[in-house]
């Protein structure tokens, strides 16, 4: 589904990704862990198409298409979804209007008719229940005045609405208490199918108790330096990242 080959990316003149290789097949859950500054969020931003970062080498194909060639909106319509680490507040844009526009743009891209108002509201209602998001949140402006937990729930709600093929969860667990974490993780698990894949980017292992990965990768200094099963996450939790750093430096 997703093939990343020798990906290099920089912001201004600073190279952050220095040759990332990763392949993700349908239905797989990959966790990417790593110390601060390793390039985890850069990787997710580059995949989503944030033009703050420049790709200087390498390739990314998504279901056979050159992902790097597409503008962010087309990547989203192709089925890439980024759950932002820091979701943006947009006062004045209502959640309903935002989601209706997004869903209908996706439908248009696929050659489908836009949803009628009642169809759309029905869809919203279903998905709200699925991810246990408070009804009041969807009556407000996008993320405006939302707590950290509400913002993250709202990301998962958007994911439910857009039904992506590949979801990238960028530090979705940061700042969440255990109850919010459970709700968010439950939402992700309910949306899981055999066809869609997930990249979970996290600093801590706890989220992976709820969203169980098939593979765990350690990103360090812009490269994936270690790959293992879910037990690698436990090892990292126990021993920290120093041994990885040491291994890498050696």
């Amino acid at each position: 589904m997703l093939v990343i080959k020798n990906l290099h990316a920089k912001i201004e003149d600073k190279e952050i990704l220095k040759g990332v290789n990763l392949e993700i097949k349908p239905g797989e859950v990959h966790a990417i862990m790593g110390p601060n500054g390793a390039g985890k969020s850069t990787l997710s931003s580059v995949l989503a198409g944030n033009d703050k970062f420049t790709v200087c080498e390498g390739s990314v194909t998504f279901n056979g298409k050159d992902l790097l060639d597409l503008p962010p909106e087309d990547r989203a319509r192709e089925g890439v979804f980024l759950s932002f680490q820091y979701p943006v507040e947009i006062p004045g844009v209502s959640m309903v209007n935002f989601m209706r526009t997004a869903v209908n743009e996706h439908r248009k891209y696929k050659g489908q008719e836009p949803h009628s108002a009642s169809e759309f509201l029905k869809l919203m209602r279903e998905k709200k229940q699925l991810v246990e998001i408070d009804s009041n949140l969807t009556n407000r402006s996008v993320n405006e005045g939302f707590s950290g937990g509400e913002k993250k729930k709202n990301e998962i709600f958007q994911m439910a609405m857009l039904e992506p093929k590949l979801s990238i969860l960028d530090e979705t667990d940061s700042g969440l208490d255990i109850d919010a974490l459970r709700i968010v993780a439950n939402g992700v698990n309910k949306l899981k199918t055999k066809e869609n894949s997930t990249i979970v980017i996290t600093h801590y292992q706890r989220l992976l108790d709820y969203i169980v990965p098939d593979f765990v990768h350690v990103l360090y200094k812009g490269r994936i330096v270690k790959t293992g099963g879910k037990e690698l996450a436990l090892e990292l939790e126990e021993k920290g990242y120093d041994w990885i750093k040491k291994e890498f430096e050696d």
Partner: protein, 462 residues
Amino acid sequence: MNVTCRITDLQEEYVALYDTHLSTLQAGAPEAMNALRGKAIEEFKKLGIPSNKVEDYKYTNLQPHFKGELNVAFSNEAAQEGVSTDFNCQVPELQTHNIFFVNGWYSHQTDACPLPEGVIMGSIREKGNANPELLAKYYGRRAPIGTDGPAAMNTAFAQDGAFIYIPKSTVLKRPIQIVNIMTGDVDRLVFQRNIIIADENSQAKIMFCDHTLSSSKFVVNTVSEIFANESSVMDVINIQNQHNNSVQVAGYYASQKKHSNLMTNNMTLHAGLARNNVKIKMEDEHCEAYMNGLYLCDKNQHVDNFTFIDHAMPHCNSNELFKGVMDDGSTGAFTGRVLVRKDAQQTNAFQSNNNLILTESARINTKPQLEIYADDVKCSHGATVGQLDEEAMFYLRARGINTDEARVLLMFAFAYEVIEKIRVEPVREQIRGLVERRFRGEFDKCSSCVACGDVDGHLGCL
């Protein structure tokens, strides 16, 4: 009688025009209007048409716009019979008492149901003559003829306009809509003079809709005096939609009495050059004033909002919000003076001006001015100039929304705050739609009365 004048040397020629046609100006006009003309023309001789050397007009030089060949209608022939009856001007879901002016002259009024008893609505010529004492009591009381050139000029030349009076304790359920239509094949200079009086404990909503229906150049000098008497509640909404060749200097001069509540909304959706002078004086205690404005400019349009809230008495609240979106090579200015006089203790005065600049060449000059002479007050002011938020742009695009659509969403979100202040729901809804269409570039030039939806067929509009 229609007079074509070619103006090159401003003051002298306008004064000569006045001298030549004084008897025409006076004929049929109410005594109160005629009584002020002499003083007004003397003041105009001193003040003239402001250039940008006049501090208050620093960003808007009006002189070039008042030069050239312009027609002045000294009689109501300018209200071409029949034109405005074809003009469909309805806000859906909103029944209004409509009064139509064509080229500054009263044309007619339409009314689905009768006005409450005692309400006066019509031409200032006719209603002013019928109610001379009422007019004399208020006329000229607020217009700053001693300090503002265009206001002095208007007072000297004006012959017609709207007269609205809401008697004591009367609540007008439906808004009054004053539709100003500029039309015809000749370039015109128009003076319109409106007076709106809400008497004690009355309530009314007044809408001014300004339109252009032909491509001629229109120079409009309008003065509206607004009186919110004790315990009255009044909304004044101006929806301006004029073509790029229009020049409008509009003065809204209001005064408030005890416990009155006044809101002004100046929505400049499309205008060539617009200068709004909006001034509210709180002449008594416990007044509340809300002054809001939205200006959307593109191409080489120019909008200048010059506002003044005068806290002359204690225990009053004012809240001012102006927002602007500047695209292409448009230019704009905002001045917001808030004066809290020495006696005006316990004043709350808040002001904010926010601007969105979409291009390198668009310009805005914003000048908040807070002057406080009292020592127990709560006041704030702020001005911002910024671009579209790139992070928000990316967020929207990452959800599959294309750049154009994302821009419209964000621009609308910016303007939204001002639209939501309007206290008449159907008008709010209408303006939401209009603003969205404006941002989508769907009304480059108006197709009809923008405030009122499409009009069928034969009235072409620029």
